[in-house]
Symmetry: C2
Subunit: 150 residues, 2 copies
DNA sequence: CCTATATTGTCAATAAAATTGACAAATACT
DNA sequence: AGTATTTGTCAATTTTATTGACAATATAGG
């Protein structure tokens, strides 16, 4: 972080290390956008997942978010109370129902995304398409590789 | 995460979003390397900063880590108790002393880094030098830009 | 069909990381 | 010198997430 690492592995190491402070700065920013929405970060993550998956059981959301099922369940319950997600019966499973965004939940997460997208666009300008593409791909590969057993 | 985003800003957005799960998977991995060292993640971060800065006051470490001074102070006290950092008088400031790694602290953080570097080298192989360079640079720029006011 | 095993839901306790508040001591500024 | 800022310290709290435990349901093998 102070001086630029010399070798390729060192640079990757430093980049990964930076994930922690970066997450903190991102979270701080995100909070501003969450201000007034009455959403926690966990709720926001689950809404994000529900938007991406459209229709998913709790275990599917758990896989997607790579969190513990108990945590996801707790957040889902909060979102049900707020009527931002709703349950739909699952023909294949009596207990494990589907969760979907309600219209208001969908509107909410889209609003939050839109506000953030506006900010992100500022930064996107700074980088080339290839750079962003590389960044995205590396995040995916790292996340995939690290989350699987080695 | 599910389907590849279409536009550049969307891809950057998705990549940044991925920071959270990625940090979680990294933390899980890191814990394995911390196993047996009796270090918390916070302690490890401060050791890492102390190694990079060589000699620094608590406020300097706070700036470097972008954490609250009270948190850094707490961790520093833990590390002092464990004799992994030591204080040195600061001629310019009576209260705000310098913190340095003790030999054992230095050995410890270097050992942890070495173990992780070994793993990282595996991943570094997967990417080209340019990709890693881009990743690193973007992490730096994003962190810088986001941590400053906008 | 029946039993063993795995999955899922639910409730509770706990932990880790970090923030916030409050106040005193030291320093910097003018 | 006097005021504002920085720094250290102690305590409480918050947020995020994990872990443990147990019951209900599903799945797979015999």
């Amino acid at each position: 972080m102070l001086k630029k690492p010399k070798t390729k592995p060192e640079m990757l190491y430093a980049g990964i290390q930076m994930t922690r402070p970066l997450l903190r700065t991102i979270s701080n920013r995100v909070e501003a956008d969450l201000e007034g929405t009455d959403l926690t970060v966990g709720q926001r993550a689950v809404l994000e997942a529900a938007l991406a998956l459209e229709q998913a059981t709790a275990p599917q959301l758990t896989d997607f978010l790579q969190l513990k099922r108990q945590f996801v369940a707790k957040v889902l319950k909060e979102l049900l109370d707020k009527e931002q997600v709703e349950q739909m019966s699952n023909p294949r499973h009596k207990r494990s129902v589907f969760y979907c965004l309600t219209p208001s939940g969908k509107a909410l997460i889209k609003k939050v995304r839109k506000a953030e997208m506006k900010r992100i666009e500022e930064f996107a300008k700074v980088f080339s398409e290839e750079e962003v593409e590389t960044y995205y791909r590396m995040q995916c590969v790292l996340n995939d590789a690290l989350s699987k057993r080695s």
